[in-house]
């Protein structure tokens, strides 16, 4: 059994954060809410999403998995207006997810979840953690995209730095400690990441004003932020480029 009501904006945040990693999602629903763990086809990026039941207008679910085509869900959301409340429920007989908004009804067949991977999210200890305003970072990323396809992220106890180096041009965004919300850094750390993934993750973090980034030396980056006004949480992991 699964039946819930949700505001389009909340569902859109879910779709936006998941769609940059996978096209098909295995959502787990139970009495606490909804969650998803996915790894992208190349195994370079992972997402761990949790949405508390309080993020929904109403929520009732038995413990089960729903295989959802994210692209389809995205399309459904295009026809929703902000004032709508979307009703989702599972028609167990036909194995379809039924979405109702106003007078519009959309049903979509669920995907077979048996063939979807069930990744474990690695438990990674990172020596440096920064909490900052996502908007400033987004500005740096936009500039970086013009010069390179990867970014060098580094931190020490003075500042956070994002660099991109192209063949002829470069971009540097340096944010000093006093403009950061929080900075814990035991030693100088630096890793390089594929910009396509990194920028999508930072853009997805728009859902919240504040983003938390954990970094190591040639090690994966952790990007965390809240969605649905603090009633949901997203964790991204992105593997670094191979040095050399």
């Amino acid at each position: 059994m699964f039946r819930s009501e949700v505001k389009p904006a909340v569902l859109r945040q879910v779709v936006d954060t998941v769609s940059i990693i996978v096209g098909e999602g295995k959502f787990r629903v139970n009495q606490d809410g909804m969650s998803l763990k996915s790894v992208d086809p190349t195994h370079v990026a992972m997402v761990d999403l949790e949405l508390n039941r309080s993020a929904f207008e109403s929520f009732e679910a038995d413990d089960q998995e729903l295989g959802i085509d994210i692209e389809k869900l995205k399309n459904v959301l295009r026809s929703a207006t902000p004032s709508d409340v979307i009703t989702l429920h599972l028609d167990e007989e036909s194995n379809r997810l039924i979405l109702n908004m106003g007078n519009l009804m959309r049903s979509m067949s669920l995907l077979d979840t048996r063939h979807m991977t069930d990744p474990k999210i690695p438990d990674i200890e990172l020596p440096a953690i920064v909490v900052m305003d996502g908007e400033e970072l987004e500005r740096g990323i936009k500039a970086a995209e013009n010069v390179s396809d990867h970014v060098i992220i580094s931190m020490d106890n003075e500042s956070f730095e994002l660099r991109a180096e192209g063949d002829t041009d470069s971009v540097d965004l340096k944010i000093p400690n006093d403009l950061l919300l929080d900075l814990k850094c035991d030693k100088r750390v630096k890793s390089i990441f594929a910009l396509s993934y990194f920028s999508n993750m930072i853009r997805a973090a728009r859902a919240s004003k504040v983003v938390k980034i954990g970094l190591g030396v040639d090690y994966p980056v952790k990007i965390e932020f809240d969605i649905a006004g603090g009633k949901g949480h997203v964790l991204y992991l992105l593997a670094p480029r191979i040095p050399g």
């Binding site: 790894v39 086809p41 190349t42 195994h43 370079v44 992972m46 991977t117 069930d118 990744p119 474990k120 999210i121 690695p122 438990d123 990674i124 013009n146 594929a194 396509s196 040639d218 090690y219 994966p220 992991l237 593997a239 670094p240 480029r241 191979i242 050399g244």
Partner: protein, 407 residues
């Protein structure tokens, strides 16, 4: 669900792969070079050979031997620039997570492009370009698996330079028969030794089809000569080049026709190959003249069949392009002819690329100055005078800029 024996008995280690001792040694040597501090000079290998002889199995077994994870691009995946770059390209330069929640830095992964020669012809949307780029920047070993080495490297000279060639041959029937016997033992299937030898012989080196046949026969209580013969000889797909050679070099109409029937190729597509290669093969003007007469007649029938949706006319078109062309020569030309990919298809794919570039540029103009397509000609003129400023303002790539300036 019934297990597919081809998957179930896929070799786990390279030395379990049947035959191809030399090829396997070359692979081992190349893989060993990845253990050093420096990356080997050639980061890619092209394994070529007929279908079903163990090319993909060898690649997967090698990865298993080396403890490499595999990033695989299958034949069913899309093969355009974005897809190849998005999967193989990303895997080539980034570290990755294990599905078990592990992260091991500097772990090697094999990037495997199966049926890489399927990137070509009408479906090639920058696929070759993407592969070359991936080979250049990769930090990881790459294996391309193809049926026809030549048709792949003829598309790009860079591919030849960036890769090592490993040619796989058909394994001996003895090797295959031994494998079949092992599978029978494992599955508890009773089989005559002679029947397995016959099965191995009939498959003409294609291990995959031999195992498929075996699995089918295993449904009967005992496998003997009689039920092997009941399968009939398997018609093996001949590749394009061999069929072309048969059509051009055969002395009888019958031979040319049957050669085409064994090929899984639409007649209109095959006619393009005939059209391209006829003047290469038929050097005497009179032969060429008669040959092209049949090509044009054949084309007429193809066109009629499409227009009237009357595909029964295909049989005339096919007779003309095979038997007709074969009979056009006075006598067969001796020696090996190097056949070419149809230039018409090449041009078509270039034209499509140009259209793609054009629409990208129009989009960029639209974003910066508005009225994208209407301003295109104006921007072209400006670009001819001051390419740098235009490129900077519109954020153009090299290809886009050269398109603007030349057009």
């Amino acid at each position: 669900m019934i297990d597919d024996w081809c998957e179930k008995y896929r070799p786990k280690a390279l030395n379990e792969v049947v035959g191809n001792k030399q090829g396997k040694e070359r692979l081992m040597e190349w893989a060993g070079a990845w253990k050093g501090r420096e990356k080997p000079q050639k980061k890619g290998v092209i394994i070529s050979g007929n279908p079903g002889i163990g090319k993909t199995s060898a690649a997967l077994a090698l990865a298993n031997d080396m403890g490499w994870e595999v990033v695989e691009l299958n034949a069913s995946d899309k093969r355009d620039y974005e897809s190849i770059n998005g999967i193989a390209g990303v895997g080539a330069v980034n570290e990755t997570f294990g599905i078990d929640g592990s992260f091991v830095p500097k772990k090697k992964r094999l990037i495997l492009l199966d049926e890489a020669d399927n990137l070509f012809g009408r479906e090639d949307r920058g696929g070759v370009r993407a592969i070359v780029e991936v080979l250049r920047k990769s930090q990881q070993p790459i294996i391309l698996v193809v049926n026809d080495y030549y048709s792949l490297v003829s598309r790009s000279g860079a591919l030849r330079n960036l890769t090592l060639q490993v040619d796989f041959r058909r394994p001996t029937k003895r090797g295959i028969a031994n494998l079949l016997a092992k599978i029978c033992e494992f599955e508890g299937v009773e089989a005559d030794e002679g029947a397995l030898t016959l099965l191995a012989e009939n498959c003409k080196g294609d291990i995959r089809s031999a195992i498929r046949d075996l699995q089918l026969l295993a449904l009967s209580p005992k496998i003997d000569d009689e039920n092997v013969l009941s399968l009939g000889g398997r018609d093996r797909e001949e590749d394009l080049f061999r069929v072309l050679a048969k059509v051009f070099k055969s002395n009888t109409a019958q031979e040319a026709r049957t050669a085409f029937q064994s090929l899984d190729e639409a007649p209109d597509h095959f006619l393009l190959w005939i059209d391209e290669n006829l003047p290469i093969e038929y050097k005497k003007p009179a032969d060429m003249y008669r040959g092209f007469y049949f090509v044009s007649r054949s084309d007429l029938f193809l066109n009629r069949s499409a227009k009237r949706q009357a595909y029964v006319l295909w049989s005339y078109a096919i007779d003309l392009m095979t038997a007709g062309v074969a009979s056009a020569k006075e006598k067969p030309y001796q020696g090996f002819t190097r056949y070419r990919f149809p230039s018409y298809l090449k041009k078509m794919s270039l034209a499509r690329k140009d259209r793609g570039l054009r629409s990208d540029i129009v989009k960029k103009i639209d974003e910066v100055w508005g009225r994208g397509s209407k301003n295109l000609d104006l921007v072209k003129e400006i670009a001819k005078k001051d390419p740098e400023t235009v490129a900077r303002k519109l954020d153009l790539g090299d290809e886009e800029l050269s398109f603007l300036v030349k057009g």
